[in-house]
Structures are given as C-alpha cells and as structure tokens.
Assembly symmetry: C2
Homo-oligomer: 414 residues x 2
C-alpha cells in the first residue's frame, strides 16, 4: 500500500500528440504478465535523458547514452521488465542491439533511432528471442491512450502503477504533459531514477530540452532514496513531441517559465510516487536541511538521515527515538559542524504541526515526548534541520524501513 | 544467536594484574539489571584510547578525550548502560563530571583520573543520582576476576557478552591480555566502536601505547559495520597495567612485535564478536577488496557492499542474487572504475569453497547457480573483489540484514 498515492484513472492520463504506447506479454520472467512496452514517437520529436552514474551501468543505459549523444532522431523506446540486462558484459550489449534492430525493422525506422530500457534482475541474460517475439503484439496495440496500460507493464516490485498528467493553458495555448515511472527498491538515483518517462506536446529545441531534463531530474528523481542503493538502470527521459500548440526554441519565449514549472511538477509527482510506493514503505518522509554553507553539505546531512536504518526503523515504529537523527547528522561528514548551532524539528504539513526537537546540542527544553510521539504517527512527516551556519539548503524524500522491506528483498527473485 | 561466537567461560578470562572490576544494578533504565561497571587501575598503568568521530559525540567521550590528552594518570573507568548521555548538551557534560567526582571520592583519587563511558538511548538525560548511588556497591565487589560479570553488565541489545583473553610467553616472560566489548547496532565505527576495553599486564610507555591503540583499532574496530550508523559513543581503550613481567619503552625491545600481535589479535576477536552478535545477524560476512589503487578506494568499495541493504537481505535469504554486489560496487564512488577488469568471488573459509561470480563486466562463464546457492547458505562467507587496477587492499566485517534487525530497532526503547 503506497503512502497517500493512487494511480490516476485511465481517462485522466491525457494523450500527448505524437506519442503512442503499446504493450505485450513476452514471458520475460513470468508467464502472462504484460512486461514489454513499445513507445513510438512521430517524426520531429526531441528527446533528452539522464542516466545512472553507477559504473556497472546496464547495457541499454550505455546504448541510450551513445544514441542521444550522437544527436540522431529518436523514433521509439523499447522497455522490458524482469531482467535488467546489467552486469551482462559484451553479450548484454549485443542483446540490447538485437532488440533495437528488431524494433527498427518492425517500425520501419533505423535501429539507431530506438532507445532500449530494461529493469529487473541484474547479472542474468536478457531472453532476446522471447522479447523480440513479443514486439509485433506490442506494435499491434500502439495507441495514444496507452499510458495507463504501459505504466502497469513497466512495474517490477512496485505495488501501484505510477503516472501523471497535467494540462495547462500557457500564453493562451494548451500544454499537455503526461508521464510514468517505476521503481520501489534499489532507489537512490544518481542522475535519475529507475525508469521515468515524461512527454509533452510542446516543441522544445534540443539544447533547451537537455537543460530542462537535468533541472527536472535534480528537483525530482535526484531527491529521492528508498535504500541508498543506486541502481544500474536508472533512466529518466523527457520527450517533446512538438505536435502541440506551444514551441520553445531559445527559452526567451513567453510562457517558458510556466511550461517548465508544469513539467518539473510532473517529474516531482512521478519521483515522489516512487517513494510513496517504496518497498515496505508506511511513511513518506521529507528531510529538509537548511542553513548549510553549501548545497553539498546540506545533501550530505539529508542523505545521512534518509539512509540511516536506525532512523528509518524508528519512523516505522512511530517511536520518537530522535537521538538517532542527531547521531546520523553527527556522522554525515561535516567535519567542523558545531552541534550547538544545530536545530531539528519534526513537522506534519497536513495537520500544520511543528515540534522543536533539538537545540544547543541537546533536547529542546520545550520538547515533550507526547508531541514527538503524535507527530511520528503521521503518514507524511518532515524532518527539518537548520545547520545554523549558512544559507544553502537541500531536500531529500525517503520512506521508512519496515519488516516488509526485508521480506520483499529476501524473497525477490527466489 | 550470534554467528559462531560464544562467550568464554569465567575461568578462561585471566585476570590482568593491577586491574579490578566491579558491577552493580543501579536501575538506570531497568530494575534489577547490572548496568554499572567500575574498573579500578592500580597506580602506574598507562591508558590510551580512540573515540568516535561523530560530531554529536557523547559528553563522556568528550571528557575521556580531554583527560587522556592532558596526560594525567588514569585510575578508574565508570561505565553505564541504558542511557548514552549523548545529545544532552551542557547538562550532559555536568552529569558526566558529577559521576567522575563521586567515583573519585569513593576511590580516593582525583576526579580527573576517572574516565566515564555511557551507552544506550541518545537524547535522554543521565539519571545521575541513581548512577552515583550505585557506585558503592560496584566498589564493594571490585575483583581481578570481575571480567565475566563486567562483560555482561556493559551489554545493551547484545545477545551475548563479548570477552577475550590471551596468554603468551614472549622473550621468556608471560604476557596476559584480557578485554571485553559491547555493541550490536549503530555499528560503523569511525575510530573505534561502541565500547571496547582491553588490558595487558605488560608495561608499555604512553607514546608506544598511543600508537598501538590506533593500529589495533584500525585492524579491528575500524573494520566492522552492522548498519553503517556510526555511534555517538564509540570508545576503545587499551590499558597497560605494568604489573606483569614484560616492559616496552621504545618498541625496540625483544618481543614487542609478538606482544603487539597478541594484543591486536585480541582486539580483532572483540571487534568481530560485535558483528557476530550484530542485531538480527544470521551470517558473518567478510568483504575483502584487493587490487585497488589506494586503500581508501578499497574501503569505499568494501563499505558500499557491506552497507547495501539489498546485498544484506540477499545474504539473509541465502539467495545468490549477486548482481546486487555489482550494483553496490558500481555506485561506490570510484569514478573511473573499469568494470571489465573487476572480478568477484564468494568464498567459504570453513569448507575451502571458492566460486568465481563475475569477470569481464558480467557473470563468469564458469559460474553455476547451484554453486553460488551452496555458498550463500554458509554461516561465514567472504565476498572477495579484485578491482584489477593496483596493489592496495582493505577488509570490512559485516553481517546480514534480517527481519530481526527491523524488529529489534522498531522495538528498542518503546
């Protein structure tokens, strides 16, 4: 059960002109489960992406990077779940290339215009034959309203499909942004998360789109962590189909700031949905660190708290054992942190509650255990930290650590 | 149930001349539990220690550091469990000072010759009155053979008491080394672990002892991690009572190398015992990384594997889902790691088994799932990684991640 998140209804996911999606059950790891998704782009779309920094990056990630860097027109994505095609060496690369070749033939476009994406078990070979055999069926049901089915077909340990759709009127013209994401474990994106796809009907020139995908990733997928384990397959891709009414070439045009805001908000919703559906999650935690000398030290502090198994199990138990937050802060790697200047609050946005937990290096005089306890029972909690030494800030979204996390990850695969 | 570790019998813990230990039930957090330990040192002992680098270090840690730095003679330790006296600000420091003052009066020695140690819940005040009231009883039963009782009295979430005793004849003279440690969670020492005490009857000059405690910590307590959470209270203290037959002033004496080896081996046993009794541990894992350009990058790689919740849950499940090891390695922060040169093995020392898991950036051709599976079922497993780019190496000891870990840490305190 995700924390305060439900998949939008099929009709809420508005088609993006120039983008069609189709799915198939290719039997990659499980029989009769839709596990193959084809996304076809009409000519003229711009595509930009950010990918995992994991050195054991998957073969499809390496191919995506090369093809986007080459600047060739992208005409389709092939996405499979079940097998990650990571830790597969040279044979893995050949497998990803074979998939693109087959998809290219089927769609009548060059193999180099296809981006492959895989997610699932690492170190096992991609069943290329079954995957390719599934492509015609996926092509058969390509449709502009395929987002809902596709959002389900890209899931692995996810318990809900994650999708978003926003419409706006900007400078008098309509804008549509629709997207989907997947991921629940091995989530600590370093550039982008497991799989995130976002498409808009606006035309956005490639350099502008390139900058936007980085900005959007930094405010969304790069701010989340379930377990601190950066995946081998993280990919976040932004498509501007150019089939809508809006067009941005330089970023100087009227409405660019508004369009950007809508797109970034959609990316945030997709990224947060991954945390709300984090493996075993029962709480959605925002760690907001401010008052740092640099954004980097704020991120260090936020990650130390967000990754601490002791902090995460205390949230699961709704136990205000808040010394664990101080211990995590203290080991965050800020060598000259003066703990006397640090303040820590717990907040609940929903109920407008705020409790000062710590100041002057110890427990706040005003702190009462029952206030901390009440806040810890909320489903959405913010840990706010003021480092008291500067003006920088950073924010990380995470979830708690439950029995379910261990059960899922001790059972997954076997 | 710890992994392949049992507490030595009382008679196996040989007294160290010049060191006496006494315990009492002071009711610090629980009634009728021995939770206060007094260690009295005869005049002339040398003492050296290493302490946590956590910025939110506990008040007793700060006092220990100052007193050892001042170079005054140390005459006693006061150790309590239940409350860590960390995150307690200025009142916490005054509490630790009051305890030392009371112990000094009782023993007829200066307050500044007392080192305080605390372990337990962070952010809660130390019950100074109850602690001080317990001191006379602890003094009453001070005895050279008090190690066994003391090793039990310093436990918190530990399931077994951890102690070690070694005797050797070096350069024709007898040497005794006896010690104890505690810790099971919040274990990722940065300088030393929760609490470790080791005493020898040799005389060792202070500068020599200072160097030795660092060397011993680096080969023992600084190589272990249960959950990556560096405690606020880590302390490892080495006592040379000087009441035995051996004496080392410069390190040039005959037998120094052998005496060092015995002391370091004892420290390793104490440190590993903490991992074997790690919260919820069912497996003892050694991560041995070699072939690195520097020890630092080997440690980065070893910690990335040892801290990965996904790797740790796979060990718990005995599931050879070994791609998770590659994913952890890939995100370890070695920016220019060429994954094609990396090799990964699983080994079981007990049964002399060794399985090559990965080479050439993928699964080893010779790898068979049943071999990996058989190894994963062992209680003691080594993950050996060759980074293939240099001559440096590092080793980290850790344990798996089980349902028990979550249960213990979601229940602890509440």
């Amino acid at each position: 059960m995700p924390v305060c998140y439900t998949t939008p209804a099929p009709e809420e996911l508005r088609p993006v002109a120039g983008v069609r999606l189709g799915v198939a059950a290719a039997g990659i790891r499980k029989k009769d489960r839709e596990d193959l998704t084809l996304v076809a782009l009409d000519p003229g779309a711009s595509v930009a992406g950010v990918f995992t920094q994991n050195r054991f990056c998957a073969a499809p990630v390496a191919l995506c990077r090369e093809r986007l860097a080459a600047g060739k027109e992208i005409r389709a994505f092939v996405i499979n779940t079940g097998i990650a095609n990571a830790g597969t060496g040279e044979p893995g690369r050949k497998a990803a290339e074979a998939v693109c070749m087959a998809a290219g033939e089927l769609l009548g476009v060059p193999a180099a215009s296809i981006l492959p994406f895989s997610t699932g078990v690492i170190l096992e070979p991609l069943p290329v034959g079954r995957l390719i055999a599934g492509l015609p069926a996926a092509r058969q049901n390509l449709a502009p309203d395929g987002w809902y089915r596709a959002a389900h077909a890209i899931m692995t340990t996810d318990t809900v499909a994650k999708a978003v759709s926003k419409q706006a009127v900007i400078a008098g013209k309509p804008l549509t942004v629709t997207g989907m994401s997947k991921g629940a474990g091995m989530i600590c994106p370093n550039m982008a998360t497991m799989l995130g796809f976002l498409a808009t009907d606006a035309a956005i020139a490639p350099p502008l789109l390139e900058a936007l995908v980085k900005e959007a990733a930094n405010q969304s997928f790069n701010c989340i962590s379930v377990d601190g384990d950066t995946s081998t397959n993280d990919s976040f891709v932004l498509v501007a189909s150019g089939r809508g009414a809006l067009s941005f070439q330089t970023g100087e045009e009227e409405g660019w700031a508004e369009a950007k805001a809508v797109i970034i908000e959609a990316a945030e919703i997709l990224a947060q949905a991954i945390i709300r559906d984090g493996e075993g999650a029962t709480k959605f935690i925002t760690v907001a660190v401010e008052g740092g000398r640099s954004e980097e030290e704020c991120r260090l502090a936020a990650y130390a708290i967000a990754h601490s198994p002791l902090v995460k199990t205390a949230f699961f138990a709704s136990d205000p054992n808040l010394g664990r937050i101080l211990a995590a802060l203290g080991r965050a790697g800020i060598g000259d942190l003066a703990v006397e200047g640090v303040r820590v609050w717990l907040e609940s946005a929903g109920k407008n509650l705020r409790v000062l937990v710590s100041e002057n290096g110890g427990r706040a005089a005003s702190y009462r255990e029952e206030d901390g306890g009440a806040l810890m029972r909320e489903a959405e909690i913010t840990v706010r930290v003021d480092l008291g030494r500067g003006g920088a800030r950073a924010k990380i979204y995470t979830c708690d650590f439950s029995h379910e996390y261990v059960r899922i990850n001790a059972d997954y695969r076997s």
